[in-house]
Symmetry: C3
Subunit: 362 residues, 3 copies
């Protein structure tokens, strides 16, 4: 892989990973089991139809995270292979780690831990936060550092998700606040902690080429296509899920068109910036998550998608250079523009939606 190993004992990565894998085996042997087989025929038929409803969406999300996100981050020409590999390793490590932590939490409550597809989904969402956060320090960290970040972030994510969803009762099916906003600010904190006040000049290897931009664009398109599955997978089947799919589609379609408008207006010669496209088109999906299954009118989804695309493009143009200059904050992939700003917009939109709904009801 292209990233040079840091000046540490060369066996640190395999040894720590190997120890982790051994501990995982031990934990699973002691505590984890599958659900009891459904005793009654009706239950079995229900289980089959639930699997049939959830499994295709689960596979879509796997494609997004493994292939789509990996390719999206492969925009640095020399790091393509490393980025795909590190993304894949981090995903697997974080999912397993999240399964262990979830299991421990449950164990204290209910004895043995029962594993099903919903647990896997929840663990995968925890892994997604790690993958988003490390975007801020992409290509400047060793695999060991990435694993340390994952080890710290997963428990904090689980605690914060529990606080937000269970304690505060916030509705957030698409993970706008719990996943995107959280992982963005965690990632920026990691970047600040690792690089401190060191101003590092842009390395010549860090300019994109048409080929690496093409790969990254294909990654964006894969994420764009499957985003409705990501938002809808945890919704109530039926009307709410249907609405979540439609709202997400509308928001992402509006994002795509608005990104082209905003990027052409801001760039010289009306040329589109590949970086704007790769991020702006997805901003609508980030913002819509928190209101996707609510009974908002379709126009709200379109407006939210457009607004978040504008925020994302403006963020790349003005906010990222400003943060780098004033706060000496490095944000390699611009996660603040893709996950931070649209996430905050989405949270504000959900507050408005709930206020309007409660006024209507009163």
């Amino acid at each position: 892989m292209a990233v040079p190993p840091p000046a540490r004992p060369r066996c640190l990565l395999p040894l720590s990973l190997g120890l982790f894998q051994g501990a995982l085996l031990l934990f699973f042997a002691l505590f984890v089991t599958y659900d009891e087989p459904s005793a009654q025929v009706e239950d079995a038929s229900l289980a089959a139809s639930q699997l049939c409803g959830t499994f295709p969406l689960f596979q879509d999300i796997q494609v997004m995270v493994v292939v789509g996100l990996g390719l999206l981050l492969a925009f640095l020409p020399r790091y393509g292979l490393s980025v795909l590999t590190h993304n894949f390793l981090l995903l697997n490590f974080s999912t397993q780690w999240a399964l262990v932590l979830q299991g421990l939490l449950h164990h204290f409550h209910h004895g043995r831990v029962h594993l099903d597809l919903r647990n896997l989904l929840a663990a995968e969402f925890a892994a997604v936060t790690v993958l988003i956060s490390v975007g801020a320090v992409l290509g400047r960290t060793s695999p060991c550092q990435l694993l340390v970040v994952a080890t710290c972030e997963v428990p904090i994510y689980l605690a914060s998700e529990w606080t937000i969803v269970t304690c505060l009762g916030v509705l957030d099916v698409g993970g706008t606040i719990t996943i995107h906003v959280f992982s963005c600010y965690f990632g920026l904190g990691v970047s600040k902690a690792l690089f401190g006040a060191a101003r590092r000049p842009v390395h010549p290897k860090e300019t994109t080429t048409p080929r690496s931009d093409l790969l990254s664009l294909v990654g964006m398109l894969i994420l764009w296509v499957f985003w409705p599955s990501f938002v809808a997978v945890l919704c109530q089947p039926g009307d709410a899920q249907h609405r979540a799919v439609l709202n997400t589609f509308l928001a992402m379609s509006a994002s795509a068109v608005t990104t082209v408008v905003a990027s052409s207006l801001l760039e010289r010669d009306s040329k589109l910036s590949a970086g704007h496209l790769q991020n702006g088109c997805l901003a609508g999906g980030v913002a819509i998550g928190v209101v996707a299954d609510m009974a908002v009118p379709p126009v709200a989804a379109l407006a939210l998608g457009s607004l978040s695309a504008v925020a994302c493009v403006l963020g790349f143009k003005f906010l990222t250079p400003l943060l780098a200059r004033k706060l000496v904050l490095q944000d390699q992939c611009g996660i603040h523009n893709l996950h931070g700003l649209p996430g905050i917009l989405g949270a504000a939109a959900s507050a408005v939606a709930i206020l309007v709904a409660s006024e209507d009801a009163s």
Copy 2:
């Protein structure tokens, strides 16, 4: 992007797109709403199972159009990035424009417009016609020209689809006539209108490289894999849909083998032409659409797939040069060979199938 902006005010593209997006917001705010939530429990369960049946196919079609078609058209080495971007922008613009036009038609009849996944599918099919048509003028047009083409084509498509399906009562689940044949001749008309009698020499940038051929081949494979979803999505669930999937698979498999046969026989040294492969293997899918859900025997699907692959390869070898010479007709991607000839074959096959069925019945 690689396409140089034409000698027009540089803000034409963003301003017109921005205006369109604003008008869309206004239209959605005034007229569009979601279906009422299903009041009864049985309805809700029915809605959930419909979504579960349609949504995975919808996602497959999205992958085909966004990723597959984009990569298929990326066979010109320098234009890869532009082609993917323009394909994506046109798809979103045309889908939104088709939603507006469909909504207007409905509005005159039923008051408010109710949006659901079927509407999105219909709008996406309208967008597919635009994406096929612009294949004829690929890499020689500015984004603005492409948007003008889309603006004109979507209403004409909706009118022609209404005439063919609703007025004439033609059965065409896979869109062979309404989508493929229509968009092919529309695209050739656009090419003739834009370039007139100007014989443009082949630009050196317009020869493919092994790398661009590989990308295009991957695009073809994605389209090939998901084509059964495209044909089956609008079929009656159950036997008709099952038959549509099987027929499409058989036709496309026969196409693939026959393309290799035909291309090896026609090319020097028995070398396969990448262009033939990228198009011939899909010809069976174009042709089968119109008969896919009918009670035709499996051998008919195989024969139709083989015939259309032969027609497609022969078209590339003889018809395209002839049209370019005699009619000065430029067809950059060979849409006449992939969509026109197989579509006409499919239409003829459906006429035969209906004649045979009515004789059997009498």
Copy 3:
């Protein structure tokens, strides 16, 4: 295509393929028909829900075989285009050939042959064995030789599958023994038969480049994501299918982490080998197939995944050079390490699982 045509009549490939296609048409015309339409409404609703459960998995498997496997094998820089094309041609030829042979077997028993999605799946599994086997002789054989291999392998596979599953009653939902172990040793036999004792030096074209490794890695990721669909598609819907999905996911996740551990420990400078990653991460999926739907505890899936990844990496490091030196056995893609060793591990694990289960029961 890059592979030079051998010193044979140049029309051999198209003529033999064309003859085959003609014979297929004749066979389908005489013997093959679709299932009778379901007469009763309840049957129709059942058929629709079966299709809705199986079709998305069928599409996933198609993506794996057509796109994922094609890209995985494209690790030789100059052969990328040929490998994708040959993989695609072989898949279609073998599927059709398997449909014919299956049909003949059924015909002798039941008169006319009824085609449905399950037949297609079974035929596709036969084709997968061919695609795995030819990995041993990748890039050193002409398309005609590959077709001869396919013609011989499909009937032997069907006979061996019938012996193992129907006669011996072995449970093997994921095809660990019937597909992976069988095709591995068949492929090694083909390699020995074709190249005999000729020691061929490694051709300079046969070293990978970062670009070809990237393509191959993307292929591996696609296979990794969709592997649970491959294993679960033939399971009983409900609990068994759910368990198969979970077990496969756990095994593959453990494989991925363990491959990184094993590869870093074995390679100089702790650098990961791209070849190890491309194969080791999939080894868990090969091994788990035979026990995936059994009531094994989750820890067994994890342990099996880890063990098979270690076996695969050790195989690449020590066994492949040993076999090449002692037995003059060429194994271009290392199919013995990816399909042979993990398959044997899986078979041993299934024997243990059944012994434990029968002891528990007694």
